[in-house]
């Protein structure tokens, strides 16, 4: 029991807040800078040996050298071409098949088990087969990346189609819209958010497969560059290559983010 009312009057303690991520600008940059500074300091001071980790400034120098000599483009252009062609094929086909699975019960019943069987296969294991089918050149690499992006795109697309609000479809039917109109104007835009977020995963898988394919047989390309560096234990070049891959990942993710911003402006 309190002695007097004025005595017991105190603010209600705040118990809410948290559990809601807020955008904190610059935090990532600070973390990156700290990690780099730590590595630089460690390698210079000697408590990180040169064989454990290359000096960040040396990696930067290697990158600059790569750019100056023009070799950066020699490696980057074929890699980007493979990634773009392969994932364009895989994603387009994946969205097509995913839509079919989402729309037709027979296609769903027939293809979902096939997709489930294809999905967990490490696609890189099929590279020898693709080399026989499509040749040792670019064809097999396109096929590998296409297949790798194909299956996750299917899964995300039919999941997205399943999640389209059925009341909107009923509305379309109740106004006598044609089947094509319902698919084009209601199902496809309704599935777009899910398809785009699936695209992030697909492209990331595409980059992994790109490097794997290039390591197994390519003269030029980021994967080939990393493999050469690795077999010579040239850690500076190895890290430079890995850094290029990271940047590639960040850039594609940013590009998809821009695409989402443009296409999904209607979302809050």
């Amino acid at each position: 029991m309190s002695d007097s009312p004025s005595d017991s009057a105190r603010p209600v303690p705040f118990r809410g807040g948290g559990f809601r991520p807020v955008a904190k600008r610059g935090a990532a940059v600070v973390v990156f800078a700290l990690l780099l500074a730590l590595a630089e300091w460690g390698t210079r001071a000697g408590w990180i040996s040169n064989l454990t980790l290359p000096r960040p400034s040396d990696v930067a120098a290697t990158l600059v050298e790569l750019w100056r000599s023009g070799m950066l483009w020699t490696h980057l252009v074929p890699s980007l071409t493979r990634l773009v062609v392969g994932s364009a094929l895989g994603v387009t086909a994946g969205i097509g098949v995913g839509m079919m699975i989402g729309l037709f019960s027979y296609v769903r019943a027939g293809l979902i088990p096939v997709v489930a069987a294809l999905f967990p296969i490490p696609k890189i294991a099929l590279l020898p087969l693709f080399v026989i089918w499509f040749g040792i050149d670019e064809g097999s690499k396109y096929a590998l990346i296409a297949l790798g992006t194909f299956t996750p795109t299917i899964v995300s697309t039919y999941g997205a189609v399943d999640n389209v609000d059925r009341t909107l479809v009923r509305m379309g039917q109740s106004f006598g819209l044609s089947w094509m109109s319902i698919v084009r104007k209601i199902v496809l835009p309704g599935a777009l958010p899910g398809i785009l977020s699936g695209l992030r995963v697909s492209i990331a898988i595409g980059i992994i497969l790109l490097v794997a394919a290039e390591m197994l047989g390519a003269e030029y390309g980021i994967g080939a560059y990393i493999l050469q560096a690795g077999s010579l234990y040239d850690l500076e070049r190895l890290f430079a290559g890995v850094l290029i891959l990271s940047v590639l990942g960040v850039v594609t993710s940013w590009a998809i983010g821009q695409l989402e911003k443009r296409l999904l402006r209607w979302r809050s």
Partner: protein
């Protein structure tokens, strides 16, 4: 702009012994009902009595297990979609603007460009939405969203409007405003309407006739006529209050029983 009144509601509907089951669960039983032209029929009943199912059957979104829904007469000239719904949750496409949501139902009839523009301008003016033309649904309040859905329904010049609890997702004040809007729209250009609701005050304000359903399996308990013209009905009118009490007496037992039912779905 508006077609002559006589042409607007030339189509009538008759329900002939409608019975409906979902996997053996009987939802509606033996419902025969006449829906005359130019009047609003309200269907009320306790929750889960199959009111909304009945409306889906009337508009052809579902097939009855037995019985049939008959159209009498031909829809008026210029009618693009004879049986047109207004849904409880608005069913607006979130990626289309107010204008886009309305043009959606015109596009399939080949109405585009300047013609569509004129029609949309007219319907937006009638539903007081002219200022909201470029807005996206997420920017609108619930009441405004339902106004857009009503505009979308009006634009196809329906012979019969099927309203599925159109005001149930709105707060009491907005509901009052929209009820007045609906009455204004009707008195300016009478339409045939089937209005499903669980809200008795909406029923007595908007219904020329009120059909009362029993709890599941829904059967027709009674059809009540209200002779007071729509425009003379106002909130708090003692005659309407009395009618509401009478309806509640009819429904109370059913509603209590329905409330205590276990769901087997």
């Amino acid at each position: 702009m508006c077609p002559p009144l006589s042409a607007v509601s030339a189509m009538e509907l008759t329900l002939d012994k409608i019975t409906h089951r979902y996997d053996g669960l009987s939802v509606l039983k033996d419902i025969s009902l006449h829906i005359p032209a130019g009047e609003i029929l309200c269907i009320i009943g306790p929750s889960g009595c199959g009111k909304s199912t009945l409306l889906r059957l009337i508009g052809g979104l579902e097939r009855p297990s037995a019985g049939q829904v008959l159209q009498l007469g031909t829809p008026p000239k210029g009618c693009l979609n004879p049986l047109t719904y207004v849904f409880q949750d608005f069913a607006l496409l979130p990626w289309r603007t107010v204008e886009g949501n309305i043009s959606l139902v015109l596009e399939d009839h080949g109405i585009r460009g300047a013609v569509a523009d004129r029609i949309i301008t007219d319907v937006l003016a009638r539903t007081k939405l002219s200022d909201f033309r470029p807005a996206l649904p997420r920017q609108l309040s619930g009441g405004m969203k339902q106004r857009v859905a009503i505009a979308r329904a009006l634009v196809v010049k329906p012979a019969v409007m099927l309203l599925d609890e159109p005001l149930s997702a709105l707060d009491a004040q907005t509901r009052e405003l929209l009820m007045e809007d609906l009455i204004t729209l009707w008195s300016r250009q009478p339409f045939t309407g089937v209005y499903v609701t669980h809200n008795l005050s909406e029923a007595v304000r908007l219904g020329h006739r009120i059909a009362v359903l029993s709890r599941r399996p829904g059967q027709l308990r009674e059809v009540i006529d209200i002779d007071i013209p729509l425009t003379e009905r106002h909130a708090g009118d003692p005659r309407l209050e009395a009618m509401q009490v009478r309806l509640w007496d009819l429904m109370k037992q059913e509603a209590m029983a329905a409330d205590q039912e276990l769901l087997h779905v």
